[in-house]
Symmetry: C2
Subunit: 324 residues, 2 copies
Amino acid sequence: MPEPVVLVLDADPSPRLGRLTGRARVLRTGAAELAARLPDADVLLVWDFTSDAVREAWPGDGPRPRWVHAASAGVDRLLCPELAASDTVLTNARGVFERPVAEYVAGLVLAFAKDLPTTLALQREHRWHHREGQQVAGSRAVVVGAGPIGREITRLLHGLGVQVALVGRTARRTIHGIEDLGPLAARADWVISAVPLTPSTYGMFDTRFFGVLQPSARFINVGRGASVVEADLVEALNRRWLAGAALDVFRQEPLGEESPLWDVPGLLVSPHLSGDTAGWRDRLGEQFVTMYELWADGSPLPNVVDKERGYVPSTDNSEDLEGT
Amino acid sequence: MPEPVVLVLDADPSPRLGRLTGRARVLRTGAAELAARLPDADVLLVWDFTSDAVREAWPGDGPRPRWVHAASAGVDRLLCPELAASDTVLTNARGVFERPVAEYVAGLVLAFAKDLPTTLALQREHRWHHREGQQVAGSRAVVVGAGPIGREITRLLHGLGVQVALVGRTARRTIHGIEDLGPLAARADWVISAVPLTPSTYGMFDTRFFGVLQPSARFINVGRGASVVEADLVEALNRRWLAGAALDVFRQEPLGEESPLWDVPGLLVSPHLSGDTAGWRDRLGEQFVTMYELWADGSPLPNVVDKERGYVPSTDNSEDLEGT
């Protein structure tokens, strides 16, 4: 029996797929040859998660991979109607990014509360200027996006004594429905977005949303850039509708040198790194190999994306969510 | 019966002592008149905790306040041998600073792990440069100083998934003795000092100490500046014996504009603000008023400093210290 073909969409650094030797033929491809090679692949590993090539190359009715795995949490870059309509299984990297992203958000919350950016700026000027920080314990957060990343952010902030409300698409158990977002955001110190990019989250953080925030609030986006109307956020910051914001994700990445976002007062810009801690590429590679072994043995795969919704639905009763 | 005289050493902003009206005569003094006024005071409130005036003004054998309260955690600036030998009760502001300082330390740990200072520097240059952060969960910390601040730091870092060892003067229950510091520091990612300034902590963080650290370690001081030999820390950073450090306290405060410390690569300088969150002065004032009411009623005071040791000894069995 021939070994299944695992096609890896991967411009440069390679995942550690050595464990597949003898179980699969691993072939690499760039974006340009992807369309030509897809029909011969049993599995597509989208290692270059910054690429839009899959949407463009996906074969309509012809032969196609039976399984596509995205080495990322979000699948918006590769999920096209033809892939959604097909019987190809789509999985994501759920499990790898939750803790790093949650720590990153906790770090931003504390950095804002303790005014660390100002401390660093004053240090450059050799200025000793005492200021009062804020206490994080007892402050209020709204986490938007009740997937595994949003849940982990909720847990970690809760552990810091923050009163956290978690908002999902629909209300269930300890999770608020999206209809509660406005009232919750209106009294929050921190609004954190960890939403996937879907038609209903596209542009959801806009002038109307920022208009309800407290002037002392901060907005943090570690979900997807296109959920934020960036011009609206800039205007809201300029009008002092909120005290600050941090964006780790953007409509267009990488952010160009000429982007006005770099210089907006109160806006902290980081290069889509919140989930990436030392060893993350190895963890992504190991996760794929483990999933491949399940697939090759005919066992059910974890992390299967609901292709209509655009994300992996949470199974509520498997979650141990401390009070929100 | 005449009202007791509460003398407040306070250059400028006044604590909210209105609740003492009718129970005490509240008089204010600057450093210059302190010696002349101390003999007439029943209580001395050292509100200006940056002042060295008490050591200089303390009356030897003459009349003196029966109670001195420091609106600070440390009492090293005012504790002199004559005060130590007297029967005057000395108390501190235990309870006000623990949580803010612990949050500040957690913020520094996360900022270092996520390389936030570099992110801010790159943003100024409009440079999108992805880097990998570190995961805080699973890293190792040593917290030196087993008083209430060190214990709160331990609790908060433990909640972030850090493996924390707490080091005190002597080993007891979940606390390591000072003899374990070297071996623990040698494998720590984070060494955090929350020690009071006493003869045995003066200059304890020196070349010999920094020499045992891992090159990836960071040192954070939120205790007292003089526990660190600053020149030794600078040399250790220059030699890359450790990856970074943050000092919130210094031998001389405020740090002068000409200090070389401002420009040491890897050193984060902040102006003694870790414990000071919005409303802290009010909390200090309220704490004093509450303690005054106990004192005036002849009830025992909390937060009594052991004047030989130089700090408030912890009562171990009152502490709920989660695993270290």
